[in-house]
Protein backbone atom coordinates (compact mmCIF):
# COMPACT_ATOMS: atom_id res chain seq x y z
CA UNK A 1 0.00 0.00 0.00
CA UNK A 2 1.44 3.38 -1.00
CA UNK A 3 0.83 6.41 1.16
CA UNK A 4 -0.50 9.69 -0.26
CA UNK A 5 -0.11 11.67 2.94
CA UNK A 6 1.93 10.91 6.03
CA UNK A 7 1.69 13.26 9.00
CA UNK A 8 4.06 12.64 11.90
CA UNK A 9 3.98 14.33 15.32
CA UNK A 10 2.63 17.56 13.88
CA UNK A 11 2.14 20.43 16.33
CA UNK A 12 1.01 23.99 15.86
CA UNK A 13 0.14 26.76 18.31
CA UNK A 14 -1.18 30.26 17.79
CA UNK A 15 0.18 32.18 20.74
CA UNK A 16 -1.05 30.42 23.86
CA UNK A 17 -3.69 28.46 21.97
CA UNK A 18 -2.63 24.94 20.95
CA UNK A 19 -4.28 24.02 17.65
CA UNK A 20 -2.58 20.67 17.01
CA UNK A 21 -0.72 18.48 19.45
CA UNK A 22 1.49 15.67 18.07
CA UNK A 23 -0.87 14.64 15.30
CA UNK A 24 0.13 11.50 13.37
CA UNK A 25 -1.75 9.53 10.73
CA UNK A 26 -1.37 8.37 7.16
CA UNK A 27 -3.70 8.32 4.18
CA UNK A 28 -3.41 5.48 1.66
CA UNK A 29 -3.28 6.33 -2.01
CA UNK A 30 -6.63 6.15 -3.75
CA UNK A 31 -8.76 6.48 -0.65
CA UNK A 32 -11.59 8.90 -0.01
CA UNK A 33 -10.66 10.20 3.39
CA UNK A 34 -12.88 12.06 5.80
CA UNK A 35 -11.47 14.58 8.26
CA UNK A 36 -13.86 15.05 11.12
CA UNK A 37 -13.82 17.02 14.32
CA UNK A 38 -15.80 19.49 16.37
CA UNK A 39 -15.36 23.21 15.78
CA UNK A 40 -11.85 24.25 16.78
CA UNK A 41 -10.53 20.69 16.62
CA UNK A 42 -7.78 21.75 14.23
CA UNK A 43 -9.04 20.47 10.87
CA UNK A 44 -8.45 23.64 8.85
CA UNK A 45 -5.15 24.21 10.64
CA UNK A 46 -4.09 20.69 9.69
CA UNK A 47 -4.96 21.22 6.03
CA UNK A 48 -3.25 24.62 6.02
CA UNK A 49 -0.09 23.05 7.42
CA UNK A 50 -0.18 20.28 4.82
CA UNK A 51 -0.51 22.82 2.00
CA UNK A 52 2.36 24.88 3.38
CA UNK A 53 0.26 27.95 4.23
CA UNK A 54 1.13 27.64 7.89
CA UNK A 55 4.47 26.79 9.38
CA UNK A 56 4.45 23.94 11.90
CA UNK A 57 6.05 24.25 15.32
CA UNK A 58 7.15 20.61 15.12
CA UNK A 59 6.60 17.46 13.12
CA UNK A 60 6.89 16.25 9.56
CA UNK A 61 4.57 16.05 6.57
CA UNK A 62 5.16 13.81 3.59
CA UNK A 63 3.00 14.26 0.50
CA UNK A 64 3.14 11.66 -2.26
CA UNK A 65 6.43 10.43 -0.84
CA UNK A 66 8.09 13.85 -0.75
CA UNK A 67 8.91 16.04 2.22
CA UNK A 68 6.36 18.86 2.20
CA UNK A 69 8.84 21.34 3.67
CA UNK A 70 11.97 20.69 1.66
CA UNK A 71 10.49 19.41 -1.56
CA UNK A 72 7.39 21.59 -1.84
CA UNK A 73 8.32 23.02 -5.27
CA UNK A 74 8.40 19.49 -6.70
CA UNK A 75 4.90 18.89 -5.38
CA UNK A 76 3.34 21.92 -7.06
CA UNK A 77 0.56 20.77 -9.35
CA UNK A 78 0.49 17.26 -7.85
CA UNK A 79 -1.84 18.19 -5.00
CA UNK A 80 -4.56 20.74 -4.74
CA UNK A 81 -7.02 22.14 -2.25
CA UNK A 82 -10.38 23.79 -1.87
CA UNK A 83 -9.33 26.52 0.54
CA UNK A 84 -11.99 27.45 3.06
CA UNK A 85 -12.97 31.14 2.97
CA UNK A 86 -10.51 32.02 0.19
CA UNK A 87 -11.60 34.91 -1.97
CA UNK A 88 -11.34 34.94 -5.72
CA UNK A 89 -10.85 38.38 -7.28
CA UNK A 90 -14.35 39.81 -7.72
CA UNK A 91 -13.68 41.66 -10.94
CA UNK A 92 -11.79 39.00 -12.81
CA UNK A 93 -13.31 36.72 -15.39
CA UNK A 94 -13.81 33.09 -14.50
CA UNK A 95 -12.29 31.35 -17.53
CA UNK A 96 -9.35 33.74 -17.60
CA UNK A 97 -8.56 33.23 -13.90
CA UNK A 98 -8.88 29.44 -14.04
CA UNK A 99 -6.63 29.36 -17.11
CA UNK A 100 -4.08 31.47 -15.24
CA UNK A 101 -4.17 29.06 -12.28
CA UNK A 102 -3.90 26.03 -14.55
CA UNK A 103 -0.88 27.49 -16.33
CA UNK A 104 0.68 28.38 -13.01
CA UNK A 105 0.21 24.73 -12.08
CA UNK A 106 2.44 23.77 -15.00
CA UNK A 107 0.08 23.26 -17.96
CA UNK A 108 0.76 24.71 -21.39
CA UNK A 109 -1.67 27.31 -22.72
CA UNK A 110 -3.52 24.75 -24.85
CA UNK A 111 -3.63 22.17 -22.05
CA UNK A 112 -4.86 24.82 -19.63
CA UNK A 113 -7.71 25.87 -21.92
CA UNK A 114 -8.79 22.24 -22.32
CA UNK A 115 -8.51 21.53 -18.60
CA UNK A 116 -10.52 24.60 -17.65
CA UNK A 117 -13.25 23.49 -20.04
CA UNK A 118 -13.16 20.04 -18.39
CA UNK A 119 -13.50 21.25 -14.79
CA UNK A 120 -16.16 23.81 -15.70
CA UNK A 121 -18.14 21.06 -17.41
CA UNK A 122 -17.57 18.76 -14.42
CA UNK A 123 -18.93 21.37 -12.01
CA UNK A 124 -21.77 22.47 -14.28
CA UNK A 125 -20.37 25.93 -14.82
CA UNK A 126 -19.64 25.97 -18.54
CA UNK A 127 -22.30 28.58 -19.24
CA UNK A 128 -20.90 30.85 -16.53
CA UNK A 129 -17.32 30.87 -17.88
CA UNK A 130 -17.47 34.34 -19.41
CA UNK A 131 -18.83 35.98 -16.27
CA UNK A 132 -16.90 37.75 -13.56
CA UNK A 133 -16.68 36.27 -10.07
CA UNK A 134 -18.86 38.98 -8.59
CA UNK A 135 -21.73 37.89 -10.85
CA UNK A 136 -21.92 34.40 -9.35
CA UNK A 137 -24.26 33.20 -6.62
CA UNK A 138 -22.86 31.70 -3.41
CA UNK A 139 -23.50 28.16 -4.66
CA UNK A 140 -21.82 28.80 -7.99
CA UNK A 141 -18.84 30.41 -6.27
CA UNK A 142 -18.46 27.35 -4.10
CA UNK A 143 -18.61 25.07 -7.13
CA UNK A 144 -16.02 27.25 -8.79
CA UNK A 145 -13.72 26.85 -5.81
CA UNK A 146 -14.19 23.10 -6.14
CA UNK A 147 -13.48 23.38 -9.87
CA UNK A 148 -10.16 25.15 -9.28
CA UNK A 149 -9.15 22.34 -6.93
CA UNK A 150 -9.61 19.83 -9.77
CA UNK A 151 -7.45 21.75 -12.25
CA UNK A 152 -4.52 19.79 -13.60
CA UNK A 153 -5.92 16.47 -12.36
CA UNK A 154 -3.90 16.44 -9.12
CA UNK A 155 -3.09 13.13 -7.48
CA UNK A 156 -4.16 14.35 -4.04
CA UNK A 157 -7.05 16.75 -3.42
CA UNK A 158 -8.00 18.34 -0.12
CA UNK A 159 -11.54 19.69 0.12
CA UNK A 160 -12.22 21.86 3.14
CA UNK A 161 -15.98 22.03 3.70
CA UNK A 162 -16.88 21.39 0.05
CA UNK A 163 -20.63 21.52 0.53
CA UNK A 164 -21.07 23.98 3.37
CA UNK A 165 -23.66 26.61 2.54
CA UNK A 166 -24.88 24.76 -0.53
CA UNK A 167 -28.48 23.80 -1.22
CA UNK A 168 -29.19 20.03 -1.34
CA UNK A 169 -29.07 19.90 -5.13
CA UNK A 170 -25.69 21.59 -5.36
CA UNK A 171 -24.34 19.54 -2.45
CA UNK A 172 -25.45 16.32 -4.12
CA UNK A 173 -23.74 17.39 -7.32
CA UNK A 174 -20.46 18.01 -5.48
CA UNK A 175 -20.73 14.61 -3.76
CA UNK A 176 -21.30 12.98 -7.14
CA UNK A 177 -18.18 14.64 -8.53
CA UNK A 178 -16.14 13.49 -5.55
CA UNK A 179 -17.35 9.92 -5.94
CA UNK A 180 -16.48 10.03 -9.64
CA UNK A 181 -12.93 10.93 -8.66
CA UNK A 182 -12.59 7.80 -6.54
CA UNK A 183 -9.74 5.70 -7.85
CA UNK A 184 -8.30 8.52 -9.97
CA UNK A 185 -7.18 10.75 -7.08
CA UNK A 186 -6.83 10.51 -3.34
CA UNK A 187 -9.42 12.86 -1.86
CA UNK A 188 -9.44 14.21 1.69
CA UNK A 189 -12.69 15.88 2.75
CA UNK A 190 -12.98 17.98 5.86
CA UNK A 191 -16.60 18.43 6.77
CA UNK A 192 -19.11 18.82 9.55
CA UNK A 193 -21.65 16.98 7.43
CA UNK A 194 -21.13 13.50 8.84
CA UNK A 195 -23.92 11.92 6.83
CA UNK A 196 -22.15 13.11 3.71
CA UNK A 197 -18.82 11.72 4.87
CA UNK A 198 -20.39 8.40 5.78
CA UNK A 199 -21.82 8.13 2.26
CA UNK A 200 -18.66 9.27 0.55
CA UNK A 201 -15.55 8.24 2.44
CA UNK A 202 -13.76 4.94 2.81
CA UNK A 203 -11.55 6.09 5.70
CA UNK A 204 -11.51 8.82 8.28
CA UNK A 205 -9.48 10.75 10.80
CA UNK A 206 -11.18 12.22 13.82
CA UNK A 207 -9.53 15.20 15.41
CA UNK A 208 -10.53 16.36 18.84
CA UNK A 209 -8.91 19.23 20.70
CA UNK A 210 -5.90 19.10 18.41
CA UNK A 211 -5.28 15.38 18.77
CA UNK A 212 -6.17 12.32 16.71
CA UNK A 213 -9.07 10.51 18.33
CA UNK A 214 -9.37 7.93 15.54
CA UNK A 215 -7.64 7.17 12.26
CA UNK A 216 -8.60 4.22 10.09
CA UNK A 217 -11.27 2.74 7.88
CA UNK A 218 -14.85 3.98 8.03
CA UNK A 219 -16.17 0.41 8.12
CA UNK A 220 -14.03 -0.53 11.11
CA UNK A 221 -15.01 2.64 12.88
CA UNK A 222 -18.75 2.12 12.41
CA UNK A 223 -18.90 -1.63 12.98
CA UNK A 224 -16.12 -1.98 15.47
CA UNK A 225 -18.06 0.04 17.96
CA UNK A 226 -20.57 -1.50 20.33
CA UNK A 227 -23.49 0.74 19.55
CA UNK A 228 -26.74 -1.07 18.74
CA UNK A 229 -29.88 0.59 17.41
CA UNK A 230 -33.11 -1.12 18.26
CA UNK A 231 -36.72 -0.46 17.31
CA UNK A 232 -39.56 -2.10 19.21
CA UNK A 233 -43.30 -2.45 18.65
CA UNK A 234 -44.52 -0.53 21.69
CA UNK A 235 -43.28 2.24 23.94
CA UNK A 236 -40.67 1.37 26.52
CA UNK A 237 -41.31 2.71 30.01
CA UNK A 238 -38.77 3.73 32.62
CA UNK A 239 -39.09 0.45 34.55
CA UNK A 240 -38.01 -1.59 31.54
CA UNK A 241 -35.23 0.85 30.79
CA UNK A 242 -33.79 0.55 34.27
CA UNK A 243 -33.87 -3.26 34.03
CA UNK A 244 -31.97 -3.12 30.72
CA UNK A 245 -29.47 -0.71 32.22
CA UNK A 246 -28.87 -3.18 34.99
CA UNK A 247 -27.93 -5.99 32.58
CA UNK A 248 -24.32 -7.08 32.55
CA UNK A 249 -22.45 -5.72 29.51
CA UNK A 250 -24.83 -2.80 28.90
CA UNK A 251 -22.91 0.38 29.56
CA UNK A 252 -25.11 2.96 27.86
CA UNK A 253 -28.75 3.37 26.95
CA UNK A 254 -30.51 6.22 25.22
CA UNK A 255 -34.20 6.38 24.37
CA UNK A 256 -34.20 8.19 21.03
CA UNK A 257 -38.00 8.08 20.88
CA UNK A 258 -40.56 5.89 22.70
CA UNK A 259 -39.87 2.95 20.37
CA UNK A 260 -36.20 3.41 19.48
CA UNK A 261 -33.36 2.45 21.79
CA UNK A 262 -29.67 3.07 21.35
CA UNK A 263 -27.61 0.74 23.50
CA UNK A 264 -23.90 0.68 24.07
CA UNK A 265 -22.47 -2.77 24.77
CA UNK A 266 -19.15 -3.54 26.34
CA UNK A 267 -18.46 -7.17 25.48
CA UNK A 268 -15.88 -9.10 27.45
CA UNK A 269 -14.12 -12.45 26.99
CA UNK A 270 -16.74 -14.22 29.03
CA UNK A 271 -19.75 -12.25 27.79
CA UNK A 272 -20.05 -11.81 24.04
CA UNK A 273 -22.16 -9.31 22.12
CA UNK A 274 -24.77 -11.96 21.28
CA UNK A 275 -25.20 -12.90 24.91
CA UNK A 276 -25.78 -9.28 25.88
CA UNK A 277 -28.24 -8.86 22.99
CA UNK A 278 -30.05 -12.03 24.04
CA UNK A 279 -30.46 -10.71 27.60
CA UNK A 280 -31.89 -7.45 26.27
CA UNK A 281 -34.37 -9.28 24.02
CA UNK A 282 -35.47 -11.51 26.89
CA UNK A 283 -36.02 -8.48 29.12
CA UNK A 284 -38.12 -6.77 26.46
CA UNK A 285 -40.20 -9.87 25.76
CA UNK A 286 -40.90 -10.34 29.47
CA UNK A 287 -42.73 -7.00 29.25
CA UNK A 288 -44.51 -7.93 26.00
CA UNK A 289 -42.35 -5.63 23.97
CA UNK A 290 -41.35 -7.20 20.69
CA UNK A 291 -38.06 -6.09 19.05
CA UNK A 292 -38.60 -5.32 15.36
CA UNK A 293 -35.27 -4.24 13.92
CA UNK A 294 -31.77 -4.28 15.26
CA UNK A 295 -28.78 -2.58 13.61
CA UNK A 296 -25.29 -3.15 14.83
CA UNK A 297 -22.79 -0.40 14.49
CA UNK A 298 -23.89 3.20 14.32
CA UNK A 299 -24.26 6.10 12.02
CA UNK A 300 -21.12 8.15 11.89
CA UNK A 301 -22.64 11.05 13.75
CA UNK A 302 -23.54 8.89 16.76
CA UNK A 303 -20.25 7.05 16.74
CA UNK A 304 -18.38 10.34 16.38
CA UNK A 305 -20.12 11.80 19.38
CA UNK A 306 -19.22 8.75 21.44
CA UNK A 307 -15.61 8.94 20.24
CA UNK A 308 -15.17 12.57 21.19
CA UNK A 309 -17.01 12.08 24.47
CA UNK A 310 -20.07 14.18 23.58
CA UNK A 311 -22.61 11.35 23.44
CA UNK A 312 -25.45 11.57 25.89
CA UNK A 313 -25.48 8.35 27.93
CA UNK A 314 -28.38 7.74 30.21
Amino acid sequence: MTVALQVTDLSKSFGQSVALRGVSFSIPTGSLYGLVGPNGAGKTTLLSLVAGFLIPDAGAISILGKDARDELPELRGRFSMLVQDAMLPRNRKIRETLTYLARLGGLSKQEAVQDVARVLEMCGLTDQASKRFRQLSHGMTKRLHVAQAFLGQPELIFLDEPTSGLDPENAAQIRKIILELAGESTVVISSHNLVELEETCTDLVILDEGEVAYAGSMHAFLSGGSLVRWTVDSPVDEGVLSQIRGLEGVVGLELKNPTTLHLTFEPSQTLGRHHIAKSVIETLLRHDIVPRTMAEGARLEERFLVEVGRAPTS
Binding site: S48, A51, G52, F53, L54, I55, P56, R69, D70, E71, L72, P73, R76, G77, F79, S80, M81, V83, D85, A86, M87, L88, P89, N91, R92, Y100, L101, R103, L104, G105, G106, Q148
Partner: protein, 300 residues
Protein backbone atom coordinates in the same frame (compact mmCIF):
# COMPACT_ATOMS: atom_id res chain seq x y z
CA UNK B 1 10.08 26.68 7.29
CA UNK B 2 12.81 25.59 4.95
CA UNK B 3 12.41 26.59 1.37
CA UNK B 4 14.25 25.51 -1.69
CA UNK B 5 16.81 28.18 -2.50
CA UNK B 6 16.20 27.86 -6.24
CA UNK B 7 13.58 30.22 -7.55
CA UNK B 8 11.33 29.20 -10.41
CA UNK B 9 11.95 32.20 -12.66
CA UNK B 10 9.59 30.91 -15.31
CA UNK B 11 6.74 31.19 -12.83
CA UNK B 12 7.98 34.59 -11.65
CA UNK B 13 8.00 35.85 -15.24
CA UNK B 14 4.59 34.37 -15.98
CA UNK B 15 2.98 35.90 -12.89
CA UNK B 16 4.72 39.25 -13.37
CA UNK B 17 3.43 39.63 -16.91
CA UNK B 18 -0.05 38.43 -15.96
CA UNK B 19 -0.22 40.93 -13.07
CA UNK B 20 1.11 43.70 -15.30
CA UNK B 21 -1.42 42.94 -18.03
CA UNK B 22 -4.27 42.98 -15.52
CA UNK B 23 -3.08 46.26 -13.97
CA UNK B 24 -2.68 47.98 -17.33
CA UNK B 25 -6.13 46.83 -18.44
CA UNK B 26 -7.77 47.41 -15.08
CA UNK B 27 -9.22 50.58 -13.66
CA UNK B 28 -6.50 51.04 -11.03
CA UNK B 29 -3.77 51.12 -13.68
CA UNK B 30 -5.62 53.69 -15.75
CA UNK B 31 -6.29 55.76 -12.65
CA UNK B 32 -2.60 55.76 -11.72
CA UNK B 33 -1.60 56.64 -15.27
CA UNK B 34 -3.99 59.61 -15.23
CA UNK B 35 -2.65 60.75 -11.85
CA UNK B 36 0.92 60.64 -13.14
CA UNK B 37 0.04 62.42 -16.38
CA UNK B 38 -1.75 65.09 -14.34
CA UNK B 39 1.28 65.50 -12.06
CA UNK B 40 3.50 65.71 -15.14
CA UNK B 41 1.22 68.29 -16.75
CA UNK B 42 1.25 70.44 -13.62
CA UNK B 43 5.05 70.22 -13.40
CA UNK B 44 5.34 71.20 -17.06
CA UNK B 45 3.07 74.18 -16.44
CA UNK B 46 5.19 75.17 -13.43
CA UNK B 47 8.28 75.06 -15.66
CA UNK B 48 6.97 76.65 -18.86
CA UNK B 49 4.52 79.33 -17.68
CA UNK B 50 7.03 81.52 -15.80
CA UNK B 51 9.51 80.98 -18.63
CA UNK B 52 6.95 82.20 -21.14
CA UNK B 53 6.43 85.40 -19.17
CA UNK B 54 10.15 85.99 -18.60
CA UNK B 55 11.03 85.51 -22.21
CA UNK B 56 8.31 87.88 -23.41
CA UNK B 57 9.51 90.44 -20.86
CA UNK B 58 13.04 90.02 -22.23
CA UNK B 59 11.84 91.05 -25.66
CA UNK B 60 11.22 87.75 -27.44
CA UNK B 61 7.81 87.22 -29.02
CA UNK B 62 7.04 84.00 -27.17
CA UNK B 63 8.63 80.93 -25.57
CA UNK B 64 8.11 78.97 -28.77
CA UNK B 65 9.99 81.56 -30.80
CA UNK B 66 12.89 81.91 -28.33
CA UNK B 67 16.22 80.18 -29.02
CA UNK B 68 17.41 77.40 -26.67
CA UNK B 69 20.27 79.66 -25.54
CA UNK B 70 17.81 82.35 -24.39
CA UNK B 71 15.61 79.77 -22.66
CA UNK B 72 18.61 78.18 -20.95
CA UNK B 73 19.82 81.57 -19.78
CA UNK B 74 16.40 82.40 -18.32
CA UNK B 75 16.21 79.04 -16.62
CA UNK B 76 19.66 79.62 -15.11
CA UNK B 77 18.59 83.02 -13.78
CA UNK B 78 15.11 82.16 -12.62
CA UNK B 79 15.33 78.47 -11.74
CA UNK B 80 19.03 78.14 -10.81
CA UNK B 81 18.57 78.88 -7.08
CA UNK B 82 15.40 76.76 -7.01
CA UNK B 83 17.19 73.79 -8.57
CA UNK B 84 20.10 74.19 -6.17
CA UNK B 85 17.69 74.12 -3.23
CA UNK B 86 15.68 71.27 -4.71
CA UNK B 87 18.66 68.95 -5.19
CA UNK B 88 20.53 70.16 -2.09
CA UNK B 89 23.43 71.60 -4.09
CA UNK B 90 25.59 74.20 -2.31
CA UNK B 91 24.69 76.94 -4.84
CA UNK B 92 23.24 77.61 -8.27
CA UNK B 93 26.78 77.61 -9.64
CA UNK B 94 27.53 74.10 -8.40
CA UNK B 95 28.77 71.57 -10.92
CA UNK B 96 25.57 69.54 -10.73
CA UNK B 97 23.27 72.55 -11.28
CA UNK B 98 25.33 73.91 -14.16
CA UNK B 99 25.36 70.43 -15.72
CA UNK B 100 21.59 70.15 -15.51
CA UNK B 101 20.98 73.59 -17.01
CA UNK B 102 23.79 74.06 -19.50
CA UNK B 103 25.03 70.62 -20.56
CA UNK B 104 21.61 69.04 -20.93
CA UNK B 105 18.30 70.33 -22.34
CA UNK B 106 17.40 72.57 -19.42
CA UNK B 107 13.61 72.27 -19.59
CA UNK B 108 13.78 68.47 -19.55
CA UNK B 109 16.28 68.63 -16.65
CA UNK B 110 13.89 70.79 -14.70
CA UNK B 111 11.04 68.41 -15.30
CA UNK B 112 13.10 65.31 -14.42
CA UNK B 113 14.47 66.58 -11.12
CA UNK B 114 11.07 67.92 -10.05
CA UNK B 115 9.39 64.63 -10.93
CA UNK B 116 12.16 62.69 -9.18
CA UNK B 117 11.03 64.41 -5.99
CA UNK B 118 7.55 62.93 -6.45
CA UNK B 119 8.66 59.40 -7.40
CA UNK B 120 8.99 58.18 -3.76
CA UNK B 121 5.38 59.20 -3.13
CA UNK B 122 3.96 57.78 -6.34
CA UNK B 123 5.93 54.58 -5.65
CA UNK B 124 4.25 54.28 -2.25
CA UNK B 125 0.90 54.61 -4.03
CA UNK B 126 1.59 52.14 -6.84
CA UNK B 127 3.32 49.60 -4.57
CA UNK B 128 0.90 49.48 -1.66
CA UNK B 129 -1.38 46.81 -3.11
CA UNK B 130 1.12 43.98 -3.53
CA UNK B 131 0.30 41.21 -1.08
CA UNK B 132 -1.38 42.49 2.09
CA UNK B 133 -4.95 42.25 0.81
CA UNK B 134 -4.42 38.89 -0.90
CA UNK B 135 -2.94 37.43 2.27
CA UNK B 136 -5.77 38.81 4.40
CA UNK B 137 -8.56 37.49 2.17
CA UNK B 138 -6.70 34.23 1.50
CA UNK B 139 -6.63 34.63 -2.26
CA UNK B 140 -2.87 34.16 -1.92
CA UNK B 141 -3.51 30.59 -0.76
CA UNK B 142 -5.14 29.66 -4.06
CA UNK B 143 -2.00 30.89 -5.82
CA UNK B 144 0.41 29.38 -3.30
CA UNK B 145 -0.99 25.94 -4.09
CA UNK B 146 0.71 26.34 -7.45
CA UNK B 147 3.78 28.41 -6.78
CA UNK B 148 6.25 29.26 -4.02
CA UNK B 149 6.14 32.15 -1.59
CA UNK B 150 9.26 33.76 -3.00
CA UNK B 151 8.02 33.43 -6.55
CA UNK B 152 4.79 35.17 -5.58
CA UNK B 153 6.59 37.96 -3.72
CA UNK B 154 9.07 38.59 -6.52
CA UNK B 155 6.39 38.56 -9.19
CA UNK B 156 4.40 41.17 -7.30
CA UNK B 157 7.51 43.31 -6.85
CA UNK B 158 8.59 43.06 -10.49
CA UNK B 159 5.00 43.67 -11.55
CA UNK B 160 4.85 47.05 -9.80
CA UNK B 161 8.38 47.92 -10.95
CA UNK B 162 7.43 47.26 -14.56
CA UNK B 163 4.13 49.08 -14.25
CA UNK B 164 5.79 52.06 -12.61
CA UNK B 165 8.52 52.06 -15.28
CA UNK B 166 6.01 51.91 -18.13
CA UNK B 167 3.95 54.77 -16.70
CA UNK B 168 7.01 56.99 -16.15
CA UNK B 169 8.27 56.13 -19.65
CA UNK B 170 4.92 57.22 -21.11
CA UNK B 171 5.19 60.42 -19.10
CA UNK B 172 8.78 61.15 -20.12
CA UNK B 173 7.97 60.52 -23.80
CA UNK B 174 4.92 62.77 -23.46
CA UNK B 175 7.06 65.51 -21.88
CA UNK B 176 9.77 65.11 -24.54
CA UNK B 177 7.14 65.41 -27.26
CA UNK B 178 5.62 68.45 -25.52
CA UNK B 179 8.97 70.22 -25.18
CA UNK B 180 9.97 69.26 -28.71
CA UNK B 181 6.73 70.73 -30.09
CA UNK B 182 6.57 73.82 -27.92
CA UNK B 183 10.29 74.64 -28.00
CA UNK B 184 11.45 73.52 -31.44
CA UNK B 185 14.91 74.99 -30.90
CA UNK B 186 16.00 72.08 -28.72
CA UNK B 187 17.64 69.16 -30.52
CA UNK B 188 14.96 66.40 -30.39
CA UNK B 189 17.52 63.59 -30.30
CA UNK B 190 19.36 65.16 -27.37
CA UNK B 191 16.02 65.78 -25.68
CA UNK B 192 14.97 62.16 -26.13
CA UNK B 193 18.30 60.72 -25.00
CA UNK B 194 18.39 62.88 -21.88
CA UNK B 195 14.74 62.01 -21.24
CA UNK B 196 15.53 58.30 -21.46
CA UNK B 197 18.54 58.63 -19.18
CA UNK B 198 16.37 60.53 -16.73
CA UNK B 199 13.68 57.87 -17.04
CA UNK B 200 16.19 55.20 -16.03
CA UNK B 201 17.11 57.32 -13.02
CA UNK B 202 13.41 57.59 -12.12
CA UNK B 203 13.10 53.80 -12.30
CA UNK B 204 16.12 53.32 -10.03
CA UNK B 205 14.75 55.89 -7.55
CA UNK B 206 11.45 53.98 -7.41
CA UNK B 207 13.10 50.62 -6.61
CA UNK B 208 13.82 51.08 -2.86
CA UNK B 209 10.38 52.54 -2.26
CA UNK B 210 8.64 49.75 -4.13
CA UNK B 211 10.75 47.20 -2.21
CA UNK B 212 9.77 48.97 1.01
CA UNK B 213 6.09 48.49 0.15
CA UNK B 214 6.79 44.83 -0.66
CA UNK B 215 8.15 44.36 2.84
CA UNK B 216 5.37 46.34 4.51
CA UNK B 217 2.72 44.40 2.60
CA UNK B 218 3.96 41.28 4.42
CA UNK B 219 3.87 42.97 7.80
CA UNK B 220 0.50 44.72 7.91
CA UNK B 221 -2.91 43.50 6.84
CA UNK B 222 -4.27 46.20 4.52
CA UNK B 223 -3.05 48.04 1.46
CA UNK B 224 -4.12 51.33 3.05
CA UNK B 225 -1.88 50.73 6.03
CA UNK B 226 1.02 49.85 3.71
CA UNK B 227 0.49 53.17 1.92
CA UNK B 228 0.34 55.15 5.17
CA UNK B 229 3.42 53.52 6.69
CA UNK B 230 5.51 53.82 3.54
CA UNK B 231 4.45 57.45 3.21
CA UNK B 232 5.40 58.07 6.84
CA UNK B 233 8.80 56.48 6.26
CA UNK B 234 9.28 58.66 3.17
CA UNK B 235 8.11 61.95 4.65
CA UNK B 236 9.27 61.73 8.26
CA UNK B 237 12.95 62.08 7.46
CA UNK B 238 12.31 64.85 4.94
CA UNK B 239 10.22 66.84 7.39
CA UNK B 240 12.82 66.45 10.15
CA UNK B 241 15.73 67.46 7.93
CA UNK B 242 13.88 70.36 6.27
CA UNK B 243 12.44 71.73 9.52
CA UNK B 244 15.50 71.27 11.72
CA UNK B 245 18.00 71.64 8.90
CA UNK B 246 17.98 75.41 9.41
CA UNK B 247 19.30 75.00 12.92
CA UNK B 248 21.47 71.89 12.75
CA UNK B 249 23.68 70.15 10.21
CA UNK B 250 21.40 67.24 9.25
CA UNK B 251 22.32 66.46 5.69
CA UNK B 252 23.83 63.17 6.90
CA UNK B 253 20.39 62.16 8.19
CA UNK B 254 18.96 62.22 4.67
CA UNK B 255 21.65 59.80 3.61
CA UNK B 256 20.08 57.19 5.89
CA UNK B 257 17.19 56.85 3.46
CA UNK B 258 16.99 56.54 -0.33
CA UNK B 259 15.75 60.14 -0.43
CA UNK B 260 19.25 61.48 0.22
CA UNK B 261 20.77 59.70 -2.77
CA UNK B 262 18.31 60.16 -5.61
CA UNK B 263 19.74 63.33 -7.19
CA UNK B 264 23.17 61.71 -7.40
CA UNK B 265 21.74 59.90 -10.42
CA UNK B 266 21.64 63.22 -12.29
CA UNK B 267 25.19 64.22 -11.28
CA UNK B 268 27.79 64.73 -14.03
CA UNK B 269 30.49 63.00 -11.98
CA UNK B 270 30.50 59.28 -12.79
CA UNK B 271 31.74 58.38 -9.29
CA UNK B 272 28.87 60.22 -7.61
CA UNK B 273 26.40 58.71 -10.05
CA UNK B 274 27.65 55.16 -9.50
CA UNK B 275 27.72 55.60 -5.73
CA UNK B 276 24.12 56.82 -5.72
CA UNK B 277 23.08 54.01 -8.04
CA UNK B 278 24.76 51.42 -5.80
CA UNK B 279 23.28 52.81 -2.60
CA UNK B 280 19.76 52.99 -4.03
CA UNK B 281 20.03 49.41 -5.29
CA UNK B 282 21.41 48.38 -1.90
CA UNK B 283 18.41 49.95 -0.15
CA UNK B 284 16.13 48.01 -2.49
CA UNK B 285 17.98 44.77 -1.77
CA UNK B 286 17.85 45.36 1.99
CA UNK B 287 14.08 45.90 1.88
CA UNK B 288 13.62 42.84 -0.33
CA UNK B 289 15.78 40.77 2.03
CA UNK B 290 13.63 41.96 4.94
CA UNK B 291 10.54 40.99 2.96
CA UNK B 292 11.97 37.55 2.21
CA UNK B 293 12.93 37.05 5.86
CA UNK B 294 9.40 37.92 6.93
CA UNK B 295 7.72 35.89 4.21
CA UNK B 296 9.42 32.56 4.85
CA UNK B 297 8.63 32.79 8.56
CA UNK B 298 5.06 33.99 8.52
CA UNK B 299 1.83 32.06 8.14
CA UNK B 300 0.02 32.83 4.90
Amino acid sequence: MKHSSSINWRQVGFMTLADLRRTLRGGSGLFFLLVIILVGWILLAIVTNPLDRLIVEEGSQSLTAASPAVITQQIAVFFGPVIAWWIDAPSQFSESVVHLISARPAVMSLFLIMFAGFVPFTSCLVGCDQMAADLANRHARVILLRTGRLELMLSRFFGVVLFSAIVSLILVLFVAAFIGTRLPGFDPILLLLWGLQGWMALVVISLPYLALTTWLSLVVRTSGMVFILSLLFTTALIVVTKVLGGYFELSWLEKLSPWGWKYGLFHPNAGTLLTSLSVLLLFALVFLAAARYRLVRRDC
